[in-house]
Protein backbone atom coordinates (compact mmCIF):
# COMPACT_ATOMS: atom_id res chain seq x y z
CA UNK A 1 0.00 0.00 0.00
CA UNK A 2 1.52 3.32 -1.00
CA UNK A 3 2.85 5.32 1.86
CA UNK A 4 1.99 9.03 1.64
CA UNK A 5 2.43 12.03 3.83
CA UNK A 6 -0.43 14.33 4.67
CA UNK A 7 1.01 17.04 2.45
CA UNK A 8 1.10 14.75 -0.57
CA UNK A 9 -2.44 13.51 -0.12
CA UNK A 10 -3.56 17.13 0.07
CA UNK A 11 -1.93 17.82 -3.26
CA UNK A 12 -3.23 14.61 -4.78
CA UNK A 13 -6.70 15.74 -3.81
CA UNK A 14 -6.28 18.58 -6.31
CA UNK A 15 -5.97 15.97 -9.02
CA UNK A 16 -9.50 14.77 -8.32
CA UNK A 17 -10.59 17.30 -10.95
CA UNK A 18 -8.39 15.61 -13.53
CA UNK A 19 -9.64 12.20 -12.54
CA UNK A 20 -13.27 13.31 -12.74
CA UNK A 21 -12.67 14.78 -16.20
CA UNK A 22 -11.05 11.54 -17.29
CA UNK A 23 -13.92 9.43 -15.97
CA UNK A 24 -16.51 11.80 -17.43
CA UNK A 25 -14.75 11.59 -20.81
CA UNK A 26 -14.73 7.79 -20.75
CA UNK A 27 -18.34 7.68 -19.58
CA UNK A 28 -19.37 10.11 -22.32
CA UNK A 29 -17.98 7.84 -25.03
CA UNK A 30 -19.78 4.76 -23.77
CA UNK A 31 -22.98 6.66 -22.97
CA UNK A 32 -23.18 8.17 -26.45
CA UNK A 33 -22.54 4.79 -28.10
CA UNK A 34 -25.20 3.17 -25.91
CA UNK A 35 -27.63 6.02 -26.57
CA UNK A 36 -27.19 5.82 -30.34
CA UNK A 37 -27.55 2.04 -30.25
CA UNK A 38 -30.75 2.25 -28.23
CA UNK A 39 -32.21 4.97 -30.44
CA UNK A 40 -31.29 3.01 -33.57
CA UNK A 41 -32.94 -0.05 -32.10
CA UNK A 42 -36.09 1.88 -31.20
CA UNK A 43 -36.45 4.02 -34.32
CA UNK A 44 -34.40 2.43 -37.10
CA UNK A 45 -35.50 0.24 -39.95
CA UNK A 46 -33.57 -2.99 -40.13
CA UNK A 47 -33.27 -3.56 -43.87
CA UNK A 48 -29.56 -4.16 -44.52
CA UNK A 49 -28.25 -4.14 -48.06
CA UNK A 50 -24.66 -4.22 -49.38
CA UNK A 51 -24.44 -0.47 -49.91
CA UNK A 52 -25.79 0.22 -46.41
CA UNK A 53 -23.27 -2.18 -44.93
CA UNK A 54 -20.30 -0.65 -46.72
CA UNK A 55 -17.90 1.72 -45.00
CA UNK A 56 -19.15 5.29 -44.94
CA UNK A 57 -16.72 7.54 -46.80
CA UNK A 58 -18.63 10.82 -47.03
CA UNK A 59 -20.46 9.84 -50.20
CA UNK A 60 -17.42 8.35 -51.91
CA UNK A 61 -17.35 4.69 -52.86
CA UNK A 62 -14.79 2.97 -50.65
CA UNK A 63 -12.03 1.45 -52.79
CA UNK A 64 -9.64 -1.21 -51.56
CA UNK A 65 -8.50 -1.70 -48.00
CA UNK A 66 -8.26 1.06 -45.41
CA UNK A 67 -4.69 -0.06 -44.65
CA UNK A 68 -2.65 1.66 -47.28
CA UNK A 69 0.95 2.70 -47.08
CA UNK A 70 0.98 6.25 -45.80
CA UNK A 71 2.77 9.08 -47.49
CA UNK A 72 6.12 9.90 -45.89
CA UNK A 73 4.97 13.51 -45.52
CA UNK A 74 2.68 12.54 -42.63
CA UNK A 75 5.75 11.28 -40.83
CA UNK A 76 7.76 14.45 -41.43
CA UNK A 77 4.93 16.58 -40.08
CA UNK A 78 4.67 14.30 -37.03
CA UNK A 79 8.41 14.65 -36.44
CA UNK A 80 8.21 18.44 -36.65
CA UNK A 81 5.24 18.34 -34.30
CA UNK A 82 7.19 16.39 -31.67
CA UNK A 83 10.01 18.94 -31.66
CA UNK A 84 7.61 21.77 -30.93
CA UNK A 85 5.77 19.54 -28.47
CA UNK A 86 8.97 19.25 -26.46
CA UNK A 87 9.34 23.02 -26.69
CA UNK A 88 5.87 23.45 -25.16
CA UNK A 89 6.81 21.13 -22.31
CA UNK A 90 9.90 23.27 -21.67
CA UNK A 91 7.58 26.27 -21.34
CA UNK A 92 5.76 24.80 -18.33
CA UNK A 93 8.36 25.26 -15.56
CA UNK A 94 9.30 28.61 -17.03
CA UNK A 95 5.67 29.80 -17.04
CA UNK A 96 5.29 29.16 -13.30
CA UNK A 97 8.48 31.07 -12.51
CA UNK A 98 7.59 33.87 -14.90
CA UNK A 99 4.27 34.49 -13.18
CA UNK A 100 6.03 34.92 -9.86
CA UNK A 101 8.84 37.05 -11.32
CA UNK A 102 6.35 39.65 -12.52
CA UNK A 103 6.62 41.31 -9.11
CA UNK A 104 10.14 42.45 -9.99
CA UNK A 105 10.27 44.24 -13.29
CA UNK A 106 13.92 43.64 -14.16
CA UNK A 107 13.56 40.00 -13.24
CA UNK A 108 10.54 39.57 -15.48
CA UNK A 109 12.34 41.12 -18.47
CA UNK A 110 15.28 38.78 -17.93
CA UNK A 111 12.95 35.78 -17.74
CA UNK A 112 11.17 36.89 -20.88
CA UNK A 113 14.48 37.30 -22.72
CA UNK A 114 15.60 33.82 -21.67
CA UNK A 115 12.52 32.17 -23.10
CA UNK A 116 12.55 34.47 -26.14
CA UNK A 117 16.02 33.19 -27.07
CA UNK A 118 14.87 29.60 -26.49
CA UNK A 119 11.90 30.03 -28.80
CA UNK A 120 13.88 32.08 -31.32
CA UNK A 121 16.41 29.27 -31.83
CA UNK A 122 13.57 26.89 -32.62
CA UNK A 123 11.87 29.39 -34.92
CA UNK A 124 14.99 29.10 -37.12
CA UNK A 125 14.04 25.43 -37.52
CA UNK A 126 10.46 26.34 -38.32
CA UNK A 127 11.61 28.77 -41.01
CA UNK A 128 13.89 26.06 -42.42
CA UNK A 129 11.16 23.42 -42.79
CA UNK A 130 8.76 26.06 -44.06
CA UNK A 131 11.16 27.25 -46.74
CA UNK A 132 12.00 23.68 -47.73
CA UNK A 133 8.30 23.02 -48.28
CA UNK A 134 7.88 20.28 -45.70
CA UNK A 135 4.78 21.97 -44.36
CA UNK A 136 3.28 22.47 -47.79
CA UNK A 137 0.57 19.89 -48.11
CA UNK A 138 -0.42 19.99 -51.79
CA UNK A 139 3.05 19.71 -53.21
CA UNK A 140 3.53 16.79 -55.55
CA UNK A 141 -0.10 16.69 -56.62
CA UNK A 142 1.65 19.10 -58.83
CA UNK A 143 0.89 22.26 -60.67
CA UNK A 144 0.92 20.17 -63.83
CA UNK A 145 -2.27 18.28 -62.95
CA UNK A 146 -4.03 21.45 -62.00
CA UNK A 147 -3.07 23.07 -65.28
CA UNK A 148 -4.19 20.03 -67.24
CA UNK A 149 -7.62 20.23 -65.72
CA UNK A 150 -8.05 23.88 -66.37
Amino acid sequence: MPNVSNNTSQYLFNYTNVLLFLLAGIAFVFASIAFSRIMAWLLGHRKPDPIKQSTYECGELPVGTSFIRFNIRFYIVALIFIIFDVEVVALFPWAIIFKKSLALKGDAILMFAEMFVFVLILIVGLIYVWRKGDLQWVKTLGDKNVKDKE
Binding site: L19, I97, I121
Partner: protein, 170 residues
Amino acid sequence: MTAGQILFNVVFYFFALLTILSASVVAFSRNILHSAFALLFTFWGVAGLYIFSDAQFLAAAQVLIYVGGILVLILFAIMLTHRNPREDSGQESNQSSSVILASGITVLVYIALLAVYLPVNWSGKAASYGTMTTEMLGTALTRNYLIPFEAVSMLLLAALLGAAYLARRK
Protein backbone atom coordinates in the same frame (compact mmCIF):
# COMPACT_ATOMS: atom_id res chain seq x y z
CA MET B 1 -8.87 4.33 6.88
CA THR B 2 -10.62 7.49 5.89
CA ALA B 3 -12.63 7.83 2.71
CA GLY B 4 -9.83 9.88 1.17
CA GLN B 5 -7.29 7.15 1.78
CA ILE B 6 -9.59 4.53 0.31
CA LEU B 7 -10.07 6.66 -2.78
CA PHE B 8 -6.32 7.18 -2.94
CA ASN B 9 -5.66 3.44 -2.88
CA VAL B 10 -8.39 2.68 -5.39
CA VAL B 11 -7.01 5.23 -7.83
CA PHE B 12 -3.43 4.08 -7.28
CA TYR B 13 -4.26 0.44 -7.96
CA PHE B 14 -6.38 1.48 -10.92
CA PHE B 15 -3.36 3.17 -12.52
CA ALA B 16 -0.99 0.36 -11.53
CA LEU B 17 -3.33 -2.25 -12.99
CA LEU B 18 -3.91 -0.18 -16.12
CA THR B 19 -0.17 0.09 -16.68
CA ILE B 20 0.58 -3.58 -16.13
CA LEU B 21 -2.36 -4.97 -18.10
CA SER B 22 -1.87 -2.68 -21.08
CA ALA B 23 1.88 -3.30 -21.04
CA SER B 24 1.25 -7.04 -21.23
CA VAL B 25 -1.08 -6.45 -24.17
CA VAL B 26 1.76 -4.51 -25.82
CA ALA B 27 4.10 -7.41 -25.25
CA PHE B 28 1.83 -10.33 -26.08
CA SER B 29 -0.45 -9.03 -28.83
CA ARG B 30 0.10 -10.63 -32.23
CA ASN B 31 -1.16 -7.52 -33.98
CA ILE B 32 1.34 -4.68 -33.94
CA LEU B 33 -1.44 -2.09 -34.27
CA HIS B 34 -3.12 -3.44 -31.13
CA SER B 35 0.23 -3.20 -29.36
CA ALA B 36 0.54 0.44 -30.40
CA PHE B 37 -2.93 1.29 -29.12
CA ALA B 38 -2.34 -0.58 -25.86
CA LEU B 39 0.79 1.52 -25.45
CA LEU B 40 -1.52 4.54 -25.18
CA PHE B 41 -2.96 3.15 -21.94
CA THR B 42 0.49 2.19 -20.66
CA PHE B 43 1.67 5.77 -21.14
CA TRP B 44 -1.47 7.07 -19.41
CA GLY B 45 -0.99 4.71 -16.49
CA VAL B 46 2.64 5.69 -16.08
CA ALA B 47 1.62 9.36 -16.15
CA GLY B 48 -0.80 8.64 -13.33
CA LEU B 49 1.92 6.89 -11.32
CA TYR B 50 4.20 9.92 -11.83
CA ILE B 51 1.54 12.08 -10.19
CA PHE B 52 1.52 9.69 -7.24
CA SER B 53 5.31 10.15 -7.00
CA ASP B 54 5.02 13.96 -6.79
CA ALA B 55 6.49 14.26 -10.28
CA GLN B 56 3.91 16.58 -11.79
CA PHE B 57 6.15 17.96 -14.51
CA LEU B 58 7.15 14.48 -15.59
CA ALA B 59 3.48 13.50 -15.73
CA ALA B 60 2.62 16.49 -17.91
CA ALA B 61 5.60 15.78 -20.15
CA GLN B 62 4.58 12.13 -20.34
CA VAL B 63 1.07 12.97 -21.50
CA LEU B 64 2.15 15.70 -23.93
CA ILE B 65 5.18 14.04 -25.48
CA TYR B 66 4.55 10.32 -25.19
CA VAL B 67 0.76 10.13 -25.47
CA GLY B 68 0.47 13.09 -27.82
CA GLY B 69 3.62 12.75 -29.89
CA ILE B 70 5.63 9.56 -29.70
CA LEU B 71 2.56 7.37 -30.00
CA VAL B 72 1.42 9.20 -33.14
CA LEU B 73 4.91 8.72 -34.53
CA ILE B 74 4.81 4.99 -33.71
CA LEU B 75 1.42 4.63 -35.41
CA PHE B 76 2.66 6.50 -38.47
CA ALA B 77 5.77 4.33 -38.55
CA ILE B 78 3.60 1.20 -38.52
CA MET B 79 1.35 2.56 -41.23
CA LEU B 80 4.37 3.55 -43.30
CA THR B 81 6.11 0.20 -43.13
CA HIS B 82 3.37 -2.41 -42.93
CA ARG B 83 1.29 -3.12 -45.96
CA ASN B 84 -1.61 -4.51 -43.95
CA PRO B 85 -1.14 -4.55 -40.18
CA ARG B 86 -4.45 -6.33 -39.71
CA GLU B 87 -2.93 -9.48 -41.12
CA ASP B 88 -0.54 -11.44 -39.02
CA SER B 89 2.87 -10.56 -40.39
CA GLY B 90 3.94 -14.20 -40.20
CA GLN B 91 7.57 -13.21 -40.50
CA GLU B 92 8.63 -14.78 -37.28
CA SER B 93 12.17 -15.95 -37.46
CA ASN B 94 12.68 -19.29 -35.85
CA GLN B 95 16.41 -19.19 -36.34
CA SER B 96 18.08 -20.32 -33.18
CA SER B 97 20.69 -17.56 -33.39
CA SER B 98 18.10 -14.78 -33.17
CA VAL B 99 16.26 -16.62 -30.39
CA ILE B 100 19.49 -16.88 -28.40
CA LEU B 101 20.28 -13.22 -29.06
CA ALA B 102 16.82 -12.09 -27.95
CA SER B 103 16.92 -14.24 -24.79
CA GLY B 104 20.40 -12.96 -23.99
CA ILE B 105 19.32 -9.33 -24.28
CA THR B 106 16.23 -10.02 -22.16
CA VAL B 107 18.30 -11.67 -19.42
CA LEU B 108 20.73 -8.72 -19.44
CA VAL B 109 17.87 -6.24 -19.14
CA TYR B 110 16.43 -8.18 -16.20
CA ILE B 111 19.82 -8.32 -14.48
CA ALA B 112 20.12 -4.55 -14.92
CA LEU B 113 16.61 -4.05 -13.50
CA LEU B 114 17.36 -6.25 -10.50
CA ALA B 115 20.61 -4.36 -9.91
CA VAL B 116 18.53 -1.18 -9.64
CA TYR B 117 15.67 -2.76 -7.70
CA LEU B 118 17.43 -4.80 -5.03
CA PRO B 119 19.62 -2.19 -3.24
CA VAL B 120 16.65 0.10 -2.57
CA ASN B 121 14.98 -0.04 0.81
CA TRP B 122 11.36 -0.04 -0.36
CA SER B 123 9.78 -0.17 3.08
CA GLY B 124 11.29 3.15 4.12
CA LYS B 125 9.64 6.44 3.42
CA ALA B 126 10.77 7.99 0.15
CA ALA B 127 12.57 11.29 0.25
CA SER B 128 10.01 13.96 -0.48
CA TYR B 129 10.85 17.06 -2.44
CA GLY B 130 7.46 18.51 -1.72
CA THR B 131 4.81 19.30 -4.24
CA MET B 132 6.47 22.32 -5.85
CA THR B 133 8.77 20.31 -8.10
CA THR B 134 7.79 22.10 -11.30
CA GLU B 135 8.55 25.45 -9.71
CA MET B 136 11.91 24.18 -8.47
CA LEU B 137 12.66 22.94 -11.96
CA GLY B 138 11.75 26.31 -13.42
CA THR B 139 14.05 28.10 -11.00
CA ALA B 140 16.88 25.73 -11.75
CA LEU B 141 16.46 26.06 -15.52
CA THR B 142 16.15 29.82 -15.67
CA ARG B 143 18.76 30.74 -13.06
CA ASN B 144 21.37 28.07 -12.36
CA TYR B 145 21.32 26.09 -15.59
CA LEU B 146 20.47 28.71 -18.17
CA ILE B 147 23.16 27.74 -20.68
CA PRO B 148 22.19 24.05 -20.69
CA PHE B 149 18.57 25.15 -21.05
CA GLU B 150 19.36 27.17 -24.16
CA ALA B 151 21.55 24.32 -25.37
CA VAL B 152 18.46 22.10 -25.23
CA SER B 153 16.90 24.48 -27.73
CA MET B 154 19.93 24.08 -30.00
CA LEU B 155 19.69 20.31 -29.60
CA LEU B 156 16.02 20.39 -30.59
CA LEU B 157 16.91 22.54 -33.59
CA ALA B 158 19.58 20.05 -34.65
CA ALA B 159 17.09 17.19 -34.21
CA LEU B 160 14.49 19.03 -36.27
CA LEU B 161 16.88 19.80 -39.12
CA GLY B 162 18.32 16.29 -39.12
CA ALA B 163 14.94 14.57 -39.00
CA ALA B 164 13.46 16.74 -41.73
CA TYR B 165 16.53 16.23 -43.92
CA LEU B 166 16.66 12.45 -43.49
CA ALA B 167 12.92 11.96 -43.92
CA ARG B 168 12.84 14.10 -47.06
CA ARG B 169 15.61 12.28 -48.89
CA LYS B 170 13.40 9.46 -50.17
